[in-house]
């Protein structure tokens, strides 16, 4: 067992897979010699060399396309898009190319790649370097989408993503890079499409993703200490495949549902889950499902404004308490 930061876990997860499989290569902007702008890939270039760990030009379309061509013909590329906001300049690959080749070709072609990207707010970077865009990817048939919240999950889900035969978009949260967590020694391989109950409870189910998981957990502790409310926190971890069994099981026990989403409200991942729960577990619910989200606004740069835009521990706790008491 070792204590690693989330950013160290990224490098360890990639290294674990590169050491295992010589077909795994890794490229992106500043990822090799500089070790990544977030220092999440430090040491990989030194360990695996310039053939396998490559710096690219600022060419997001070329990065994505090259990853796809390599994946189609036998490699297992990991590509980095520095900020997930930049998906907008290479969205063709996410929306049209990676996920559609297999279907259009009637199963002839494959696309086993991982795109990892820095997602989310908290760094005061403003509206074009802070977004949570996992819902942009969730809506495309053919993709898989994961967003780990702990160093251990980073390694395990990275391994699962690299070993998966489908294109996986891997969202790392920028505000979690410095967070530390316990990581067991040896190989760690997790499963895509598995949510995790990270705090058991009886009074409500709270679904969260990435940075919102520690906030939901902190809110849960507050509610327990101050009000004796026991909420169950579920780390969704994987948006596609989506582990509805774990979510429906939790709702079946607690009879209330809350989502905590960093994405702006419209069409956030929680909307889809709430609609499924309404379809399939409506009579398990003792009250309306409630979505706690960033409002439908671009993100501001100023720290005080960004802080109140995202769901805070206080807002999460208050919203849950009011809804349960209503």
């Amino acid at each position: 067992m070792a204590e690693l930061t989330y950013r160290e876990a990224v490098a360890r997860g990639i290294a674990q897979e590169m050491a295992r499989d010589p077909d795994v290569i890794f490229f992106g902007e500043d990822v090799a010699k500089a070790g990544g702008v977030f220092k999440a890939t430090v040491g990989l270039y030194e360990q695996f060399g310039p053939k396998r760990v490559r710096d690219t030009p600022i060419s997001e379309q070329a990065i994505m396309g090259a990853a796809m061509g390599a994946a189609m013909t036998g490699l297992k590329p990991i590509a980095e898009i520095m900020f997930s906001d930049f998906f907008a300049v290479c969205f063709d690959y996410i929306a049209n190319e990676f996920p559609k080749g297999r279907y259009m070709s009637n199963g002839q072609t494959k696309c086993p790649l991982v795109v990892r990207t820095g997602n989310g707010a908290g760094s005061r970077f403003g509206a074009q370097h802070s977004q949570s865009v996992e819902n942009w990817c969730m809506m495309v048939p053919g993709l898989k989408v994961v967003a780990p919240s702990t160093p251990r999950d980073v390694i395990g889900l990275m391994a699962a993503a690299v070993r998966d035969p489908d294109p996986v978009i891997f969202f790392e949260h920028k505000s979690l890079y410095a967070v530390k967590g316990e990581v067991p020694d040896g190989e760690i391989v997790d499963t895509l499409g598995s949510a995790k109950v990270v705090r058991p409870g009886t009074d409500a189910t709270v679904l969260a993703l990435a940075l919102m998981v520690p906030r939901a957990l902190a809110a849960a502790e507050k509610l327990a200490a101050a009000h004796g409310i026991q909420v169950e926190v579920v780390d969704v971890r994987s948006l596609v495949p989506l582990d509805m069994q774990t979510i429906l099981g939790s709702v079946g026990r607690t009879h209330r549902l809350f989502t905590v989403e960093e994405n702006p409200r419209l069409c956030g991942w929680g909307a889809e889950i709430v609609s499924i729960v309404a379809d399939e577990a409506f009579y398990d619910l003792d009250g309306p499902p409630v979505r706690i989200t960033t409002p439908h606004i671009p993100l501001p740069a100023a720290d005080n404004l960004e802080d109140i835009a995202l769901p805070t521990v206080e807002r999460i706790a208050q919203t849950i308490r009011r809804a349960l008491e209503a």
Binding site: Q61, A62, D92, P165
Partner: protein
């Protein structure tokens, strides 16, 4: 017209006296062009009968490029095509029935109707897809070439696109990428002088949309007569040899002209009067028939190919007309690698 490419005209003249290609390959080049001509003409006729659904982008008039580049390939070389990809798919040896079946969206189609005219793919023939988003496949071809380089394979990735593609960002990103990593990729611009409905010169900063951009990436600006299959074939051989030898990418601009409109919806009315007729004098199939005669290949050998191909296309048409539409259950197959479409448990 080719009058602005003196080098191309010289090449035509020289080729008459130059038998480096040989009779067997010349017959192969001819047959490939005739297959494309007959199959594309049939596709057009089938539209008129409402038997080809959706859209379709024909390569009538552009046959020499597909035939020349494909004939010069080795098995294992990879083709990356655009939505105007029937010709390149046929040129790699994909059966006409599979192509027409896909255009007609029947169960005997290359992808059983799941892709359609713009996405012809036959991995077993090295046709790694036809891409309908302009420019998307240039970076993808780079990735396939990166794999070849990384694994020490000697295949070449060949990426075909139109003149319009030279004005989109992915073209420029891919060229730079291919050069910095010295990738074994050959970029082939089929300059048919029109980006969809607009003359390319009206919307492009330079005269030769591909070749004039090449020097910006440290590449030679190569313009060839794309209606002469011999010239195309030799150009392809040179570029492939360079790629296989570790010499990196090439960018080749082939001058040509499409005899039909951009797509089935386009009658091509924007073209000046007489332009099509002038280009038809330089019809690649006509040029090549004359070429075969110049090299003493018998009329009988040529006619035998014409007859054989026509029968093949007729038989394919009949098979497609008889073929059922795809079964409904394939709607849900092959979204994910497990064969299905499940996104939740």
């Amino acid at each position: 017209m080719v009058k602005d490419t003196g080098s191309a005209i010289q090449e035509v003249t020289r080729s008459v006296h130059n038998d480096d290609i040989g009779e067997a390959t010349r017959l192969e080049l001819y047959r490939s062009q005739v297959i494309i001509r007959e199959a594309e003409q049939r596709a057009y006729d089938l539209f008129l009968q409402n038997l080809v659904k959706g859209t379709s982008h024909l390569s009538l008039g552009q046959e020499a490029i597909a035939a020349g580049f494909a004939t010069a390939m080795k098995p294992g070389d990879l083709s990356f095509c655009t939505y105007r990809g029937h010709a390149h798919t046929l040129a790699r040896g994909v059966p006409v029935e599979k192509v027409l079946g896909e255009l007609m969206q029947r169960d005997n189609g290359l992808m059983r109707g799941k892709g359609g005219s713009m996405h012809l793919t036959s991995e077993e023939h090295g046709v790694m897809g036809s891409y309908a988003i302009i420019g998307a496949h240039l970076p993808i071809a780079c990735g396939a070439a990166l794999r070849a380089q990384y694994k020490g394979h000697d295949d070449v990735s060949v990426c075909f696109f139109g003149d319009g593609t030279t004005n989109i960002g992915a073209f420029h990103e891919a060229l730079n990428f291919a050069v910095i990593w010295k990738l074994p990729v050959v970029f082939v611009c089929e300059n048919n002088h029109y980006m969809e409905y607009t003359a390319i010169h009206e919307v492009t900063a330079v005269k030769h949309p591909a070749a004039d951009r090449a020097p910006a990436y440290g590449l030679d600006g190569i313009v060839v007569d794309g209606n002469d299959a011999d010239i195309v074939y030799r150009t392809a051989q040179t570029a492939y040899a360079k790629a296989r030898a570790g010499g990196g990418p090439s960018l080749i601009e082939c001058l040509t002209y499409r005899h039909s409109g951009h797509s089935r919806a386009d009658p091509g009315k924007y073209r000046p009067e007489g332009e099509l007729e002038r280009w038809k004098e330089r019809d690649p199939v006509k040029i090549y028939r004359e070429r075969l005669a110049q090299f003493g290949i018998s009329e009988a050998a040529v006619t035998a190919i014409d007859t054989e191909v026509r029968k093949m296309v007729d038989d394919a048409t009949q098979a497609c007309i008889k073929a059922p539409p795809p079964p409904e259950d394939i709607l849900f197959t092959d979204v994910y690698a497990d064969g299905g479409w499940a996104w939740r448990n």
